[in-house]
């Protein structure tokens, strides 16, 4: 049941290991809420001890698929069926189920990929850049029967984007008009440029390529070692956030204990909306791309709550408040599992993420666009078409929400 993959990924030459566990816990095991009377251990300096390597993959889709209607929990049978069908990377509301056989899954992705000019300079396999080998086993730790990570609003869906955000998005596309796929590096996404992978909170959620997070505690601090190249250092000393003039890709975090729950509040984010160009790299991107093409505003306030619910489980909950991007706040919950491979002493640290250090991807993209500008313009048009489609869907969502909220007022 155990697999260990060592990968060097394509142009960015990312080195990482993924220790995977396909855990099949007892049916109905503590889906929500703590085991009664259980308390986590404490560090020698008296803080609740959350240290260890955590597997953050989740079986739960970000948004509730339509098939579940308004149900908050699925049945055991539905869970078993979804697990069998490997729905881990299904996009929200998408019932087009994939097989869980890796080779079969790849074959399907390649078959539906946008192939053109095979063997020629313009050859592309958009949508199938990475085969399933790079992703974690679709059989995932199953600790929750929730039908969506989003628990508020109660419909299990991420709230619509504001008109201002959609306008900003449209403006980004207007700016890109007449530019090829890679006239220069800024035409590529933040992840391709090795600036941020998904950012917060996207990177805290289960990512099938590198699902582990390592928590290390010191007196007065919690450090969360992130798989994509940095350590989140969270002071617990009650000090105020840095001044508003300081803006960071991953914001500025402060933590506190509420009983055995670690609460982290993060502000001072950069405005990443303006960086939104094709490719990965949205703070709400990740294995289920909810907002693939949109960043966050400087107004983002992220509140995370880490609650140990039993010796092997950490409930991870976050609330996003960003009035410049979402019409209302939303809250999600997932469960992190102790990575037993690490617990057995077989992996004691995450490998470094040296992405920028070998980023021939950007060099080659720019050279490619200059070698065959027509193809690069075509590709830019294709990327824009996908974005316009998504933006129109978001606009419809907003209109529906506005109509519904008017009628209830």
């Amino acid at each position: 049941m155990r697999r260990r993959l060592l990968g060097i990924m394509g142009a960015a030459a990312v080195t990482m290991t993924i220790a995977l566990v396909a855990l099949v816990p007892a049916a109905g095991q503590a889906p929500d809420g703590a085991a009664k009377d259980w308390k986590p251990g404490t560090t020698p300096w008296g803080d609740p001890d959350l240290q260890g390597m955590w597997d953050t993959r989740t079986f739960t889709p970000m948004e509730r698929p339509a098939v579940f209607g308004s149900r908050e929990f699925m049945t055991e049978e539905e869970a078993a069926s979804r697990e069998r069908q490997g729905l881990t990377r299904v996009q929200s509301g998408d019932e087009d189920e994939q097989g869980n056989d890796l080779i079969e899954q790849d074959a399907r992705r390649y078959a539906t990929a946008d192939r053109k000019d095979e063997g020629q300079p313009g050859y592309r396999i958009a949508g199938a850049e990475y085969n399933a080998f790079w992703s974690a086993d679709p059989t995932q730790p199953k600790v929750s029967l929730r039908t969506s990570q989003v628990i508020d609003p109660p419909d299990g869906r991420v709230p619509p984007l504001t008109r201002a955000a959609l306008e900003k998005w449209a403006e980004n596309d207007r700016v890109r008009k007449g530019r090829s796929q890679a006239d220069n590096w800024e035409d590529r996404g933040l992840s391709e440029r090795c600036i941020i992978r998904n950012g917060l909170p996207g990177e805290m959620r289960g990512d099938t390529q590198q699902p582990l997070k390592q928590i290390v505690q010191a007196p007065g601090f919690v450090a969360i070692v992130m798989p994509y190249g940095y350590v989140r250092i969270v002071p617990l000393n009650g000090s105020p956030h840095v001044g508003a003039g300081i803006r960071q890709w991953n914001g500025d975090s402060r933590g506190r204990w509420e009983g055995t729950t670690l609460v982290i509040e993060t502000t001072n984010f950069k405005n990443t909306i303006k960086n939104h160009v094709p490719g990965h790299g949205g703070p709400f991107g990740g294995s289920d791309h909810v907002h693939y093409y949109l960043g966050t505003g400087e107004t983002l306030k992220l509140t995370e709550r880490f609650t140990p619910t039993d010796a092997g489980t950490l409930e991870y909950r976050y609330t996003v408040e960003d009035p410049s991007v979402f019409v209302r706040p939303f809250t999600t919950v997932v469960y992190w599992n102790r990575d037993t491979w690490s617990e057995q002493g077989k992996q004691d640290r995450l490998f470094e993420y040296a992405c920028h250090e070998h980023n021939y991807g950007i060099v080659n993209a720019i050279r490619g666009a200059r070698t065959d500008r027509a193809a690069a313009m075509d590709e830019a048009d294709r990327e824009t078409a996908v974005r316009v489609k998504e933006r129109n869907e978001k606009l419809e969502q907003l209109k529906k929400w506005e109509a519904a909220n008017k009628s209830t007022q």
Partner: protein, 290 residues
């Protein structure tokens, strides 16, 4: 673990002994720390018997320009940068100041210096100073770059987070393992010798430098670092550098590390990737429009 990396490391270790007969003695005898107070007793990590090194630290040397003695200099772009770009004078951090290069290795160091700000799009990661490109700085350079770093100490692990390029190391204590692959920041294993945290680092690639002067190493680099508290607000830092492919014997650097005392001090993001793109890729755009 250890089944397939042990061979290479073993050969290197043997070579080190063979090449550096004198050096091994030097290394073993080099342990007592210059300037170390015999009486200072560091505060303990609460609830343990180990000294608490948690804090934000910074070296105050000009070694990032050149780990050897160096004079003031105009720097590479005086017309563009004025005194912003000038090399600061400084005394080196190398014990005895001499670097025991093999002759052909010294030639490569000089070539490195000449091409320190060159960008070669076909050899992005092997030509030019990695610092200028915002690459992970390696060890020991990360320690004496002009940026703070933070030590976060737990019971069985120490995390060191560096402001430059968001580099970091997770260092298990008393649980040494062999490097499974090579890394820009190496593969660190820690243990305590009295109040000194000793970190043994190997598993490097050959792409990081020691400084802007082009001092460099191969993938055979082996660094042993020693962090010793000498007052409530100072650590003494020593590192023994061994690389038989580049140097004829091991050599040693040392410097104090100062605790950053500002009430509100914290590491800030210096994710310099986006700041390096014009430098790294700008030439591609300009070339093609000619």
């Amino acid at each position: 673990m250890g089944t397939w990396s042990g061979g290479r490391v073993g050969v290197i270790a043997l070579a080190a002994v063979a090449v550096a007969g004198v050096g091994v003695g030097f290394w073993l005898s080099g342990q007592p720390t210059a300037g170390q107070s015999q009486t200072f007793q560091a505060a303990r990590l609460k609830g343990t018997d180990k000294p608490d090194l948690t804090g934000i630290w910074q070296a105050l040397t000009t070694a990032n320009w050149d780990i050897q003695d160096h004079s003031a200099d105009a720097g590479p772009f005086p017309r563009l940068m004025g005194i912003w770009g000038a090399q600061h004078p400084g005394q080196g951090i190398v014990e005895g100041n001499e670097l025991p290069y093999h002759p052909e290795a010294l030639a490569k160091k000089q070539e490195n210096f000449k091409r320190r700000l060159a960008v070669d799009h076909d050899n992005l990661n092997t030509v030019g100073d990695p610092e200028a490109k915002c690459f992970l700085p390696g060890v020991p350079r990360a320690t004496y770059m002009p940026f703070p770093f933070q030590i976060l100490q737990s019971t069985d692990k120490v995390v060191i987070a560096y402001q430059f390029a968001n580099a970091s190391r997770t260092i298990p204590i008393d649980k040494a393992t062999e490097p499974p692959v090579d890394f820009w920041m190496g593969w660190s294993n820690g243990h305590w010798e009295g109040d000194t945290l000793v970190v043994d680092v190997k598993g490097f690639n050959d792409m990081t430098w020691f400084d802007r002067a082009g001092n460099y190493h191969s993938e055979a680099l082996h660094v042993v670092e020693r962090y010793t508290p000498v007052s409530a607000n100072h650590l003494n830092y020593e590192a023994t550098i061994e690389d038989p492919k580049v140097f004829t014997r091991p050599w040693k650097i040392s410097m104090p590390l100062y605790r950053r005392m500002e009430q509100n001090v914290q590491l800030l993001e210096f994710k310099c990737v986006d700041l390096s793109e014009e430098y790294l890729y700008g030439g591609l755009v300009k070339q093609s429009t000619q």
